[in-house]
Amino acid sequence: MQFLSYLINGLGLGSVYAIIALGYTMVYGIAKMLNFAHGDIIMIGAYIAFFALTKFALPFPLAVLAAIAVCTMLGVLIERLAYKPLRQAPSLAVLITAIGVSYFLQNGAQILWSSSSKVFPSVISTGSISLGSASVSYLTLLTIATCIVVMICLTLFINRTKTGSAMRACSEDKGASMLMGINVNMIISITFAIGSGLAAIASVLLASTYPSVYPTMGSMPGIKAFTAAVFGGIGSIPGAFIGGLLLGIIEIFAKAYISTQLSDAIVFGVLIVILLIKPTGLLGKKINVKV
């Protein structure tokens, strides 16, 4: 049955979107900004993993850790240098700065590593297992499993740890959190660190699935994941998870059953329909205005 294998492939792609979307949504929830450079962090992560695997011949887990470490530091650095001075600035100024950072990363990568794409080594076994009549690659299963683990860890972190509850407090009301003695700047840095770390995980999965690494590879997955975050209700962690999975499934089904070329149009079309029915996304909070 084709349907089942499309569904699982959709879940696989959706898992990648979900992991990226989690980064978007956490940063939005806490810093209230659309971090357009998030997609480019993915690209950096992919390059780091690529060089760790090829040039330094590190084992796969170490390569992933290297990518996570570099992306986490990069995320925090970007936040400190570019976004923190704009805490009080209008949101459009922050958006443009994020775009500037995105250009910077893309062009920096192009200078350092040239614009031609590099083939990502296939480290994860290319084999597949059959589920009924559908065959599913190990990579897809690993992607889905990673996403589930990430989601569980993140939920536990947010709900069970002191830092997690401080994060929730910050996303509700930064001013009040500061009065309660929460170091808001620290919380924002941690949020960027986690978001960027997740982007690094996503980058390895993405680069393994489509085995090529190039300077603009992060843009489209970035936009899609951003869409997924809005889809689920931006600022909501379960929303990003569900939004990412749904987006992946819709994209694969649209490609399989309708048209490969028009699949993007269909994905964005569904987003518009969802937002018309639920103007703040699937799990987004309703905004109340006091008159």
């Binding site: 100024a93 775009i99 996304g281």
Partner: protein, 354 residues
């Protein structure tokens, strides 16, 4: 409700002076360029950028009406440009036999591009303007993507039997001697280049007239009132969605006109030209120029298009420098301490309250 006051503070009360200044700027720039062209002292690189600059200026003026005056973030302006561009190319292609003179055909194409983009703007505006804030922005982004992928898959041609249209390449057949207008991902090829800088300048002036005349009128006040305080605007009888729609559609129409001019400036044009990055680029012109500030928009558009060309000697590093300049401008202009210093420098007085 979070008021977006600080963003718009650059829109001051010296409106008449600003209005005159922008017209003067355009006319002086036009004369200067024409003189340089006549004396042959303008390099081919710069003269080839003249028409694109006027196109982006018009699209950015339109976007500023939407983002600065109406206060709604639009991430899909390039989508409207592409509607205008391909509509203009098709119209020009269809009329090529009946109207041989370039200028009238160009003007008709621009008008058609503007009208079709306005129609798209209206249809898109119905769902978009039901949303608010970042949700509205993402839907404009989505529409930009949808428009792009539609053009990537559109096949339009004309032959003796009339106009043909299809979304599937294999279904698309033309009679011998027929002319392909749009060829899917290849876009438009073999377009007759009829755009010129004079028409571009006229279009910029028309765009300025439209936006200023709208701004300083009943409708413009309503648009700004709806931006500043939605609830209060409704309480004085201003219908919010209709008002926002007016700004959105006008902005789309200007982008459409700009697109038509752009499309007719090149012999080939691919749909990918008008992607998300182009929308963002236009948004950057608007934000750097100052929200609601049309003169600033013109200047920032020209500077930012020329900047990468001026940095050409730096080769690979030019886009990197461009990015750094972008970030630094944002950091500096939003730094209160620096801006107070800057202002007191100009007023020539001791530092007073901002």
């Amino acid at each position: 409700m979070k008021e977006k006051s600080s963003v718009f503070s650059r829109f001051g009360d010296k409106k008449n002076r600003g209005r005159l200044m922008s017209f003067a700027l355009v006319i002086i720039a036009y004369i200067a360029v024409e003189v340089l062209l006549k004396t042959g002292s303008l390099g081919s690189m710069f003269s080839s950028l003249l028409v694109p600059i006027t196109c982006y200026v018009v699209a950015a003026i339109g976007l500023n009406l939407n983002v600065g005056i109406s206060g709604e973030l639009n991430l899909g302006q390039a989508g409207f440009m592409s509607v205008g561009a391909f509509c203009g190319i098709c119209v020009s292609g269809i009329l090529a036999g009946s109207i041989t003179a370039g200028i009238p055909r160009l003007i008709i194409a621009i008008i058609c591009g503007a009208v079709l983009a306005a129609v798209f703007g209206f249809l898109i505006g119905i769902p978009v303007l039901k949303l608010q804030g970042d949700y509205l922005a993402i839907v404009t982004l989505a529409f930009g993507q949808i428009i792009k992928s539609i053009f990537m898959n559109a096949y339009i041609g004309i032959d003796t039997e009339g106009l043909h249209f299809s979304f599937v390449e294999s279904n698309f057949k033309l009679q011998p001697g027929g002319k392909m207008l749009l060829n899917g991902p290849m876009g438009a090829t073999g377009t007759q280049k009829i755009a010129n800088f004079t028409i571009g300048t006229v279009l910029v002036i028309v765009a300025l007239l439209v936006v200023y005349n709208l701004m300083f009128s009943r409708s413009g006040r309503a648009i700004m009132a709806a931006r500043d305080n939605r609830i209060a605007a409704e309480s004085v009888g201003i219908p919010i969605s209709r008002t926002k729609m007016l700004a959105f559609v006008t902005s789309a129409a200007l982008a459409g006109a700009a697109g038509a001019l752009y499309g007719l400036n090149y012999s080939t044009l691919v749909p990918n030209k008008f992607d998300f990055n182009t929308s963002i680029l236009i948004l950057v012109y608007v934000v750097l120029g100052g929200l609601g500030n049309m003169t600033g928009t013109i200047i920032s558009t020209v500077v930012l298009i020329l900047l990468p060309e001026l940095l050409r000697s730096l080769q690979d590093y030019r886009m990197l420098i461009y990015a750094v300049v972008l970030i630094l401008i944002m950091l500096v202009t939003n730094n209160e301490w620096l801006m107070t210093k800057w202002k007191s420098l100009f007023s020539g007085k001791a530092k007073g309250g901002a």
